[in-house]
Amino acid sequence: MVPRFDRTVCSLIDVLVGEVNPEADPFQRREVAHYVLATVAAMPDHFRLGFRILGMIFELAAIPLCGHRFSSLWPDDQRAYVERWRRSRVSVQRAMIAFYTAFATHGLYQYVRTARSGRPLAT
């Protein structure tokens, strides 16, 4: 069973990867999500606690706004919800999306190219 936090992050990464490169296939998206989850697991413990709490808020705050938890929303609703956080006036919400975007992008360039050509685009 996938823990709730991991499911939230995987769903979020799926949205972010889709924004950056809609052609990325499910395997590549999963690779990127694993990389980002490994990064979160290794980050300083006080940040990790903050990210877990923020992730829970991100997941549950979708209920009053969209009727379901974030990870249970339809893809279009997930994209709209992420966009709402990205444009939020609350800096920590923007910062969370910026963090995941940066690391998803980094993972995307390595893992997507690896899957296609057997090696990164360039190192």
Partner: protein
């Protein structure tokens, strides 16, 4: 958590980065009984592709996520593996500028730091870890920076690297030959050959004094994933865990006087320049040119410009993926760095990792903004068609005239500051009001406890600090052998 048998050694070195590795090699080659502990894993230099996701997970502390919070944010990176930061950096090399050594002597009353005293230490380190210029091998994105500076009459040039370039192999292969002169390739093997013992994957929880010995309480991660606690008993301990972890360990151990109050960086902001023609090829050597006209306040240079780095830098741009995919070979990533800002390192009850709180003054952010504009001017002079500042909300610059649209100072909320250099958290010198240790790294008020890493540097060097760390570490290790330090 099962206990391991306690160990006994004459000298315990905590950390295997440039400070610890050089100290270990000097002491072991002098016949001393030395044990070195490293929190990270013992990995081959090529265990992961440089600057890749895998390398960040394997060799970077906290997978590359280290953020100082305060009135502005600053993200920095550190190594956490045998060899420390030398395993993950480009190895650009500078000796300490003489005016910096003079400033440290004057302001912090550091003894024996004259250029003539330091020269043999630089030379000795450069003999073990070779320092070479790329010359004609420097990539085009790097040379463009030089040509842009020359248009304005600014002083610029190539920085040497801790790297061996091999012309013979270059003729036979299109891949970059030669090798990086990291600690795991140079001083650590010397340390081991001289009889030094290295224990990796071992973290020191705290230090305590027991009679005439120092005790390091350790935690070793086993191959089984388990954590094994133990102790090392030593006559002398050299703390060389880096500018953040060294003060964190000492503060955990109850030593706080001038420890972790003055952490400094080289904060930087970046731009991506698109030259409209091929300047960036797969397999190019790392860029090496720097604009030195505005040192010591400001340095400018060219960063690693792989598609992944460009993609991260342009993450805030619309259609960044197709932009990078289609144009990365026309693009280079460039930086402006200053020496502004100061931070404190503190432990927080209940957490393992220390917190870093940073403060920038208005002038620090204004200085970076002014010099971001200067960098853009140089890049347009070098043929850039378009420049993307890597700061959220900043406009894309289509021409030199657009530079005027850049803000006069960075906003604290930009979150765009990064650093690859951290130092100065436990400055050395004889002025006990501001220094944590004496001129040779010996802690005030204790016996047999030393610091010998980037924490010692009194202020930012303005240039890549690894050469300074290595030379100061060698000087201090020899002083330990000569019993000059206490």
């Amino acid at each position: 958590m099962s206990p391991l048998r306690p160990r006994r050694t004459e000298t315990l070195i905590i950390g295997s980065g440039p400070g610890g590795a050089v100290t270990g090699a000097v002491l072991a080659e002098a016949g001393r009984d030395v044990l070195m502990l490293e929190e990270g894993a013992d990995l081959a230099l090529d265990a992961a592709a440089p600057f890749s996701c895998d390398e960040m997970l394997l060799k970077y502390r906290n997978a590359g996520v280290s953020v100082a919070l305060g009135n502005s944010k600053l993200a920095w990176v550190e190594g956490r593996c045998v060899g420390g930061g030398s395993e993950i950096n480009r190895g650009l090399y500078h000796r300490t500028p003489e005016y910096i050594l003079e400033e440290w002597t004057r302001r912090f009353q550091v003894k024996d730091l004259q250029p003539a005293v330091m020269r043999p230490h630089f030379e000795a380190c450069e003999t073990v870890a070779r320092v070479e210029y790329a010359h004609h091998r420097a990539p085009e994105i790097s040379r463009r920076l030089q040509s842009g500076a020359e248009v304005h009459g600014w002083h610029a040039g190539e920085a040497p690297r801790l790297y061996t370039y091999s012309p013979e192999e270059a003729l036979r292969s299109s891949a970059p030959p030669g090798g990086k002169q990291s600690m795991s390739a140079t001083f650590v093997p010397r340390f081991r050959q001289a009889g030094g013992q290295l224990l990796s994957s071992t973290r020191v929880r705290r230090l305590r004094r027991e009679g005439s010995f120092w005790i390091a309480e350790t935690e070793q991660r086993g191959a089984d994933g388990g954590c094994h606690r133990s102790e090392v008993r030593a006559d002398r301990i050299v703390v060389a865990c880096g500018a953040v972890q060294t003060p964190a360990l000492l503060r955990r151990s109850g030593m706080t006087r001038n420890i972790g109050n003055t952490l400094r960086f080289h904060p930087m902001v970046k731009v991506v320049a698109d030259f409209g023609e091929m300047v960036n090829r797969a397999g190019d050597y790392d860029p090496v040119h720097q604009i030195r006209e505005f040192e010591p306040q400001i340095g400018m240079g060219c960063s690693i410009s792989t598609p992944a780095q460009l993609g991260m830098a342009l993450a805030g741009q619309k259609d960044a993926w197709s932009l990078v995919r289609e144009h990365w070979q026309n693009m280079g990533l460039y930086y402006v760095q200053s020496s502004g800002g100061s931070a404190r390192v503190r432990n927080v009850r209940g957490f393992v990792d220390p917190m870093v709180r940073v403060r920038f003054e208005e002038d620090d952010l204004a200085l970076l903004a002014v010099n971001l504009a200067r960098l853009a001017t140089a890049l347009f002079a070098a043929g850039a068609r378009r420049i993307y500042p890597c700061i959220p909300g900043y406009p894309v610059l289509e021409s030199r005239a657009d530079i005027a649209s850049l803000p006069a100072r960075l906003r604290p909320a930009d979150g765009s500051l990064t650093s690859v250099h951290v130092f100065s958290s436990c400055p050395m010198g004889e002025d006990e009001r501001v220094c944590a240790v004496n001129s040779f790294g010996a802690m005030f008020g204790t016996e047999g406890l030393y610091i010998n890493d980037a924490s010692l540097l009194c202020t930012p060097t303005g240039v890549n600090p690894q050469g300074t760390v290595m030379a100061v570490a060698r000087r201090n290790a020899i002083a330990m052998l000569e019993r000059r330090s206490r």
